[in-house]
Amino acid sequence: MVEYAWLVPFFPLVAYLLLFVLGRRAQEGIVTTLAVLASLAGFVVSLSILSQVHANGPSGPYIFHWLTVGSFDLSVGYEVTALNAMMLVVVTFVSTLVLLFSKGYMNGDKRFVVFYQYLCLFIFSMLGLVISPNLLQMYIFWELVGLCSFLLVGFWYFKPEAAAAAKKAFIVTRIGDLGLFIGIVLVFVATGTFEYSGVFQAIQSGQLNIDWMSHDNFVTLVAILIFVGAIGKSAQFPLHTWLPDAMEGPTPVSALIHAATMVAAGVYLVARAFPLFEASPDALTVIAIIGGITAIFAALIGLTQNDIKRVVAYSTISQLGYMVMALGVSAYVASTFHLMTHAFFKALLFLAAGSVIHAIHHNQDIRKMGGLWKKLPITGWTFLIGALALSGIPPFAGFWSKDEILTGALQSGNTTLFVLGLIAAFCTAFYIFRVFFLTFTGEFRGEKDVYDHAHESGSVMTLPLVLLGIMAIIAGLLNSPVTGYAFEHFMHLDGELGQVHEPSIGMMGLSTVVGLLGIGLAYLMYKSKSINAEAMANGPLRPLYLLSFNKFYIDELYHYVIVVPVVWIARILNFVDHWIVDGIVRALGEAGYVSSLGLKYSQNGQVQTYGLITLLGTVLLIGISLYVVIGGIY
């Protein structure tokens, strides 16, 4: 079955093309059925691939000749490693549920079919990215998912915020993509190949075709350049600003693209190219630091946001920071494990948030929610499960993976990172339960009318929630003593990448206590109200509150440091173009126009005038020529 891995992206592609042919007037039921079936077929194939990889180990790559450039052959193909197989299952699983959920969420939208087209195209691109055996093919799909992200964030393009967010997402990630592209080109120059295996071999054997740089520096440079791509795609500090804005897109999109799959592509890329990074301790240090900063930074911002989707978005950035940090401290298995569990519980949180938003007429402000537990029991329960998983409370999924990352950070000897991670875990628990308490408990703070009409969504929306909730509970057990660390053994089918850390009871206890402390604080502040949250925000902590609430002024900083100067340069160039370059052209045109204005009066339409002028001209010519001839003769 592994040799049929190409079928997995093939199904969504077919669905995309069929939807494209069907056009906008297709019925919603047919469209949903088609897309879900395609994704489900991909999921089934992925599962069988997973079991086969589990039994026989990774296989491939299956390479086909694509085209020849000069003396170099470009190839395409696919490859299934343990990492790929895991990603395939996760992506297809989440995709199927999100496609199902969208049926309810996007119900009645005018561009319903277009939405499914984009989603299918995205799923195809993401799966293609996962099974790419070489950097070039990966890069092509990498850009394709970026495009789909752009299209879907800007899906409601008639909202100015959505259009601006789509542009921002595209441009900011493009900065990262540029780094990635340079990195890929450098790798090709040095090794003469795009294939992962070839690149790893060349780097490990030290046979690089470069003479302008030492081997170690070159590897560090390339690793960091490729990581820059990951920074952009995975919204790491300092290119994280696009992800919260991307929440302008429909919520299923946020769940699928901006939580579970595409933003994980950066982490996936680093994990996929991990042998390259392992060869450069410096690059790993950079990665660890960036990841750690992102984790704590986003968690701090998340504390004070009021938009339910933005809180979850900042938690996504924070969790991605965790994964990146784990890779940086060589905790490869922990990182990929967190990637998987995060995909489940974060998609769950987003879909649950979407369900809430859908129920109360697309209001996203948590200050206007409250007391929804009675109205939305399934949503409430699943959100609680997701929140617990995110907070790292045993036995939910997040506990096991986060615990491993913290263990890895501590055992790598970098205490600062460990402490940062611990604080971030505390903040995470606090802000997600802040959202939970504000949304589901207490009194409804919005219009009463809306509250009365709020009701649980249909089964197309609750079924994905329940399934993801189950996964959020049990996925963590895959790499626990209960299953004998099955996930770790599975990932090691790719080879012993990174370091394996011994889990310790003390660490588990510590992270659990931290998580419970965060939850407890949130309970005191927002449920029992024994600590006045507003008094704290307006009290001595106000500067800190404002700093967090305004996202550390990063957007403003970028605006004044980058956007404003660029706009001014553009204005100056525009002035030059408009008044000098265009000016010359227009002056010439005007000169022609004005002179023709004067000359046109000679065209009076009178044949006799023309004849007279012809006669006078003839006489003049004859006279001149006679004068010349006679002057010559005499």
Binding site: K600, Y601, Q603, N604, G605, Q606, V607, Q608, G611, L612, L615
Partner: protein
């Protein structure tokens, strides 16, 4: 004996009369007539050289015949155009026919 110069002078005078008429007269018919006058002047020249040229030949007379034929065709078409114009614009004044004005 009439010399070549006398014939040529007569032709030149006729030609100039025709030219002036074609350039100044207002009635389209008269303009047409003036052009015929110029053609006649040319015919005189042709016949003069056919008779008194360096190589006298009957060809000059044949050429004159051709000229006259073409002139007749021209008058026929010209008058047809004139009638058509008159019908459309109700005027036979040259100066009223200025559709090609700016």
């Amino acid at each position: 004996m009439i010399a070549v110069e006398q014939y040529l002078t007569l032709a030149a005078i006729l030609f100039c009369i025709g030219l002036f008429g074609a350039l100044t007269k207002r009635n389209i018919i008269i303009v047409l007539v003036s052009i015929e006058l110029m053609l006649n002047a040319v015919n005189i020249n042709l016949l003069t050289f056919a008779r008194y040229g360096l190589a006298p030949s009957i060809n000059g007379q044949v050429f004159t015949l051709f000229t006259m034929t073409i002139a007749a065709a021209e008058v026929a078409v010209g008058l047809a155009i004139l009638i058509s114009l008159y019908r459309n614009r109700n005027s036979s004044d040259v100066r009223d026919q200025d559709l090609m004005k700016w």
